[in-house]
Subunit: 354 residues, 3 copies
């Protein structure tokens, strides 16, 4: 039921951005082996598979014959994706190479299954979100090859929220003192400066003079305290990145490759690269449960936020100076969706109590 | 799917009434303590809480910052309702008194959360169903203070039905012989007279010469038989009341304060006041399970009725002379919804076989 | 969410046919005894019951009084269907014969419950899908009485698919080599001729020179091999029939009486008549689990196909020469739905690799 009495109506944006002609991370490379894999991008069901030569492919997950999902089928001995219902078999370009039982041969065009462009790099399978267009760009390079001595961990997660809400949450600092009280930030507050730089494709927040986070995680990583270097970044269409440095020895570079499953559900492939003075095994033992706990708290809040956004037919957000990145991310998403030209570099500085 | 073949189309009313400028019982006073409480009125999510002085408050359950439900938060040490996400903190008028991290101070109007008028009386927290209007009336007095020697029990229940269907069910006598066969009425039938009086704000049915109910409950309360005095009453917008008297010693006054959660779901706060010659404990031991059994039978029927009403896009009711109150209640609800002036007193008398 | 990027839009049919002025099999005769039975036809809830004389009846499953489903009630001692809420009681024509409590008597027309025409034959209760029209035809005769020495088994099933998709699946041969690999067909392939004959009311595929099916089931039934006679048939509005003969001794006649519960859910009453040289008990022991396994595989595929059809707002089917019956069934359904005159006999011959 719609709300029937008089809460103020929604004004401002509805945080649903639908950007198609961009690269999205569909799955981690090691998720895609001998079996077809079902994924959804912007509400459209897709099937990923590897052909006989091991090349990743992505087709519409609907057989042109009787519309059964091809992801229920298998990759056959010829490296073709075979439908489970009648055995129609497709190559990585979506051409139908076999119709079992049929005397006539050939691969007429109307038996084609739409295919997406695919790239594989940095341990991730990327798809281009348009069946018709040829990509004029390549997927974002994560810069992992330039790192030395780092451990890399990849995890796939799903957030019950829009692309914008998911990314803002991933890059937002002030909520950590409340939602993740004790784990991350909290305790005595210090005035910190934040320098925000927005280009046509990305926006970055750099934190100047931020003390070591006072929570459990901060204490584990830097028992001696100190000042951290810290950047939060967003890259169009859907990449969130957090980087921390503490002296020479400690470096965290966590990149969340987001993919809009639908308007209100977002997949994240988190690629975490880190190097610390602590033994790797010990660090993972401590960080994985903490990361899952934090993600669980965020998921609960995002789900409730999404319910309210849907209930009221959109957001009614009021931002303040401490919402460093959210409004910029929204501006970049909207400009890209409308195909507006990129703006000039924009820079500003804000103070807040961290 | 809509019905596609030819059952006669729905005519007559769709029993959904949406009355906003009225008082509704949101919760029992003792349900509201240190934690915020989520409630829904006419599809709009609300949060109830007590401030530092113990005063009940009701806000829209949506933080103006990022639209997260405030009911997920907490009441902080200053008696403010604090959002779980970023810690924005609100007083009972909905003013935002704190934005953590923000250097700038002040409580600008756009950070306000809409608030409802609230009253607390008769052990019940009442809310006025309009964010904009100032109430020109006060909540209904239940008359509990005039009773002597009565036990009062309060229970909150939810019925899967419209406000009208729930109230008609609560006040309907004939169905007790069928749906609650053996428990309540049933057995030999007697002709009984019913006097119905409708004013502009309420309607009452008075039963004249009704023998003691013959079911289990009747036999328990009045082993010696006798003639009961019995009134069923409805008060706008949503109060149903049943009163029984048997001689000097036995008196039941059960008031159901209904609140439309949505078009097809109704909350009841039942306030049962009773005095009988039986020991209190014994009576409650017998009556509570019986009341729950009766409510369970009603709930099942109301849910099935609601499914049919929704399936067919509305009701197609045919009433007879033994539907004493339902059509009057509907008339009062519709007049109030349309803002029509109250009619003159209306009185009629009907006979039926009880 | 709708698909928002560019898979080719749906063209061609949406396989939902809504034929009303036809007979449908509502239940098996032995399912209908002393209790009312709820069924749904084309989205409309119905209640079936037997009156005092044992005659089957079908009413709209909604009491005209307060719209409660009559299927929650009971058949009373007078053989009337009595509503559970207030006890209104109906005969097989839908006339209201009793309103408990009411002093006035009579059965005015506005208290009538709409009734359907009903027939009982071949162990099946048939209903006519129109409350207003008088049927000018009779239900299809299944021809069971002409069989000698056959065992007859009746089972009721539900498929998560449209009427057309369910029937095409039931009569489709090529999918058996894939979806039911090993159970039914598969292995070495032979060229087989299929003669298809379509009249105004039905279509039949006759298989010429088909070897005994090579799967488990074929080997069980005909250990010595041989050539089978095999027909697949569809009769308007919703009957699928498969017939196999192998020499003098083995005969299978399986008739699926389909009934559209809603656009995307179909009830099947399968009437299987068979005679083989094997002992009955042994055959049933082997065939029932195999039939359930096959139906489970079909159900999974049909559910996934239905999800895709709904997701994309309709089908986008591409048929080939080996889709012998589907396109003909669709043509007959559409002609009937539009009330177009029946076409002349149509006959064609196709080869395929079985």
């Amino acid at each position: 039921m719609d709300a029937v009495f008089s809460p103020p109506a929604t004004k401002g944006h509805v945080s649903v951005a639908r950007l198609t002609r961009y690269w999205y991370a569909a799955c981690a490379s090691n998720e895609l082996s001998g079996r077809p894999l079902a994924r959804t991008l912007l509400g459209t069901p897709l099937v990923l598979f590897r052909d006989g030569a091991g090349r990743a492919a992505a087709l519409l997950d609907r057989c042109p014959h009787r519309n059964v999902p091809l992801s229920l089928g298998r990759v056959n001995r010829k490296g073709l994706l075979e439908c489970a219902y009648h055995g129609w078999a497709f190559d990585r370009d979506g051409s139908c190479r076999d119709v079992p039982g049929l005397v006539e041969t050939g691969a007429p065009r109307e038996r084609r299954c739409p295919a997406l462009h695919v790239r594989e790099q940095d341990g991730v399978v990327w798809i281009f979100g348009d069946f018709e267009a040829t990509p004029s760009t390549e997927p974002l390079k994560l810069g992992l090859s330039g790192l030395t001595g780092h451990t890399v961990v990849v995890r796939r997660l799903t957030a019950p929220a829009t692309l914008h809400a998911t990314i803002e949450n991933a890059l937002d600092v002030p909520h950590t003192a409340f939602l993740h009280r004790g784990l991350f930030r909290g305790g005595e507050r210090h005035e910190v400066k934040v320098r925000v730089r927005r280009s046509g494709e990305s926006v970055e927040a750099e934190y100047l003079g931020e003390p070591r986070p006072s929570g459990l995680i901060g204490r584990l990583l830097a028992p001696g305290g100190g000042v951290v270097e810290h950047w939060d970044r967003f890259f169009l269409p859907s990449v969130a990145q957090v980087e921390y440095r503490l002296g020479q020895d400690t470096h965290f570079l966590i990149t969340a490759l987001c993919c809009p499953i639908s308007d209100f559900e977002t997949q994240l492939i988190a690629v975490a690269a880190f190097r610390t003075p602590l033994p790797d095994r010990l660090l993972r033992l401590a960080l994985e449960p903490a990361a899952l706990l934090i993600f669980g708290q965020d998921t609960k809040i995002l789900a409730a936020q999404t319910r309210n956004i849907r209930q009221f037919g959109g957001e009614q957000y009021h931002s303040t100076a401490v919402d460093f990145l959210g409004p910029h991310i929204w501006r970049l998403l909207r400009q890209a969706e409308r195909g507006e030209p990129a703006e000039n570099l924009h820079e500003q500085e804000v103070s807040f109590f961290a």
